[in-house]
């Protein structure tokens, strides 16, 4: 759920933004029904529970903005693994505890943070900064920490070395995450708590049920060896150059960075990877370091292309009193194939290889010069209101949203629309047969003339279910933004085809678009 919230363009504001709350549900198919696999806190406060049908959840959330996305357990597993790699900053041994936990071996690390409690506080605070809420348990064994963290009500619980029996005794046996059949069998003979299992003779327990339950208890208490499979932290691909003294010559900096880039690309080539994001840090004397970040549309290790993006930025770099050290790092990399180079180019082709640019290179160069907001794609959004029916979004956001919701497409309201839409709509003077009736004459753009044909009206009403405050804000910001609009397609005697509407509240007329 948190992963989905963070991946949204609003940056996970769904549940936390008080001015405009919206609910997020993750839906999964179960026996032919769409059921709620996960619900945000806001939805839960309205009574939505995991396992109920999506239709039921919709009825509970009526009148509130609702987003429903597909539940993707495999994506959750990937996100959990990357979170485990992130947690290596606290301790070198971190393992994934599926489906939603992390196991951290903090032996010998706690004192660096001022004790176990301080370390737990630090981890909880850092996770909260990333948008995750965590329940943390510090215990002598991994199993006891797992059981306590999943059952405890407080955010941080610390189990002392001799207190494992006491901590576990009152917890339900379901916390041991045993098979459903075994849990039912234990419940049939009246065993509800872990403490009751401790009281039973171990040999009888193994004979009647299986040896697993005994081993699980031993691992929880520390009587049996427990091991985890830690994630391997990714080694950053980084190259650096330390100068003998502060360097103020831009030419020297450029030569050094070019050499560093060559070294970095050689390392990437060995790993069959391409850089998706590069960062360059210049440590300056008596000043803060300067950092440049370069995001690429596709993984690349094309030196000429990367240099063409880096060089203009370096030339604008403020060197201050001099640069002492330069670090170049491939922040994100992706595996790429190894293509064979052409030694003898095709003589029949009139295009030389250095003249053509790939799609990815073109996107990178456009983004670098014009800016990310200037290179966009248009995507339909779920709205029949003309100005909100499509959004122009940066190409990388669109690619991310296509990857996450590749099978789902927003529906488009099928109605004839003009080739050009004015934002905001332009006021127009009209003469009509009746106050809300067909147009006889209009004056717009410095030209007045009789109306030759008038088709309509097409009545559009702004969504009544949207938040009233948001609707009021839009009405104030946009002329003619009231709840009801009557649209007419009009041809005047000058041959102009205009899309004109009458604002329901004020009775004023506006031109919203034109066929050109």
């Amino acid at each position: 759920m948190r992963r989905s919230l963070r991946s949204r363009p609003s940056g996970g504001r769904c549940s936390t933004d008080r001015s405009h709350k919206c609910a997020l549900l993750l839906a999964a198919s179960h026996q032919g029904n769409e059921v709620v696999a996960c619900a945000c806190e806001y939805a839960q406060s309205a009574g939505v529970r995991t396992g109920m049908t999506v239709t039921h959840a919709r009825s509970l959330l009526i009148g509130r903005t609702l987003f429903i996305e597909r539940y993707q357990p495999e994506e959750d597993a990937k996100a959990l693994k990357s979170l485990a790699r992130w947690a290596v900053r606290f301790t070198p041994v971190v393992a994934v505890d599926e489906p939603d936990g992390l196991l951290m071996d903090i032996s010998g690390c706690a004192h660096l943070y001022g004790g176990e409690a301080m370390l737990a506080d630090r981890v909880a605070g850092s996770l909260e900064g990333l948008g995750f809420k965590a329940r943390i348990a510090v215990a002598p064994t991994f199993v006891s920490a797992q059981v306590v963290s999943r059952s405890a009500e407080q955010q941080i619980t610390i189990v002392e070395a001799g207190g494992i029996h006491d901590a576990l005794a009152s917890l339900p046996i379901a916390a041991l995450r045993m098979d459903t059949s075994m849990g039912e069998a234990l419940r049939e003979i009246g065993i509800e708590r872990i403490g009751q299992l401790f009281d039973l003779p171990r040999a009888e327990l193994a004979a009647r049920f299986s040896g697993n339950i005994g081993r699980c208890l031993d691992r929880a208490t520390g009587d049996a060896l427990d091991a985890i499979e830690p994630v391997q932290p990714l080694e950053p691909i980084e190259v650096e150059r330390v100068f003998d003294g502060p360097v103020t010559s831009l030419e020297a900096i450029l030569i050094s960075v070019r050499e560093l880039l060559r070294l970095l690309l050689r390392r990437l080539e060995k790993e069959s990877s391409g850089a998706c994001e590069l960062s360059l840090t210049a440590e300056r004397i008596h000043a803060d370091p300067v950092m440049l970040a370069l995001r690429l549309s596709h993984p690349s290790r094309d030196e000429a292309h990367l240099w063409s993006l880096l060089q203009p930025r370096l030339e604008r770099l403020s060197l201050g009193y001099g640069v002492e050290e330069i670090r170049l790092r491939a922040v994100h990399t992706q595996r790429t194939g190894n293509g064979q180079m052409e030694f003898w180019p095709d003589p029949s082709s009139s295009i030389r290889p250095e003249q053509s640019v790939s799609w990815g290179q073109m996107l990178d160069q456009l983004t670098e010069r014009i800016g990310r907001e200037g290179v966009t794609v248009a995507a339909p959004s779920e709205s029949y209101v003309p100005e909100r029916a499509f959004v122009f979004q940066p190409w990388d956001e669109d690619r991310a949203s296509r990857n996450s919701r590749s099978t789902e497409k927003a529906s488009v309201y099928a109605a004839a629309r003009p080739s050009r839409l004015f934002a905001p709509p332009d006021p127009v003077r009209v003469v009509t047969l009746t106050p809300d009736g067909p147009l006889l004459r209009l004056e717009w753009g410095g030209r007045a003339g009789a109306v030759r044909s008038c088709l309509g009206p097409e009545r559009l009403v702004l969504p009544w279910w949207a938040d009233s405050r948001r609707r009021e804000n839009e009405s104030a910001a946009m002329p003619g933004g009231s709840a009801t609009r009557d649209y007419y397609t009009v041809q005047d005697e000058h041959g102009r085809w205009l899309w004109v509407f009458r604002d329901g509240a004020s009775g004023r007329w506006f031109v919203h678009g034109e066929w050109t």
């Binding site: 009139s350 295009i351 003249q355 053509s356 640019v357 790939s358 799609w359 290179q361 073109m362 160069q365 456009l366 010069r369 014009i370 200037g374 290179v375 966009t376 794609v377 248009a378 339909p380 003309p386 029916a389 499509f390 122009f392 190409w395 497409k409 488009v412 099928a414 004839a416 629309r417 003009p418 080739s419 050009r420 839409l421 332009d426 753009g445 410095g446 030209r447 030759r452 044909s453 088709l455 397609t489 041809q491 005047d492 005697e493 000058h494 041959g495 102009r496 085809w497 678009g513 034109e514 066929w515 050109t516």
Partner: protein
Amino acid sequence: MHPLLERIRSIERRHAQCRGDAAPAKPIGVLETGWASVDAAIGGGLTRGGLHEWLGNESAATTSEVRQHARNPWRPPLCVLVHLAWSALDADRAGLWNVWIGRRCFPHPAVLLRGSVGDRTLLERSLFVSPLTPTDRLWAMDLALRSPAVGVVIGDGSEFDMAATRRVQLVAKNHETLALLARPPWEHGELSAAQTRWLVRQESVIHRDRSDSSNPQWRVELLRCKGMRWEQAQGVWNLEWNRAACTLRVSASVADSAGDASVASEPTQRRAMLDRQIA
């Protein structure tokens, strides 16, 4: 739908060959516009590796002073450009990209959907680039034309001079990519290296009987076609926009007015009018 269209076209071509008034085969490296009479007039269609200029409509603000302050001093022929982008996409089976450069020539995305089912191919294969200055627009067009993943580059060509259009024409020719420029009508007098130049105008409707269609119509005039003599390279067509299907077709009403004296003398009248405006 496409096989049927191809079949009909092949029958028409065969029929025309029998009469001896048509080209024997479809020229290579040419994009058919989908308007048979227009294609016939320019030798089969728009040259793929070339630049084609479309002069748009002028707004009410006609004087240069008002033009500078007007919100929409001119209107690019967006419906024509959308139609040509669809034609190129239909012809290219590889699914190449369309790059729209310059905010002024961005159509409302709703018109990029085709037919009642809302075919989104063009919408999903369109990239919109919005440079702020003419220099950046020219640079972006040059870059986009060099990419083999791009099939058509459609740009706002206002304030482009001869050198700029020559640069675009040369890059388009070298990389065999179609370049379409939308330009304001008052730049008709500017020198240009474009393969073809067109003027798209809205026709004033004085008589009631000439506005019988419920669809927008434009009068498209061929001003120049490289490689053809001046008297051959001219023609006027009425194009009608199908608002539901988002396609353009040659209006049937033109056939009736083919012998009309006002239409026959249209290029001369129009040139005189443009010359007056420039003066």
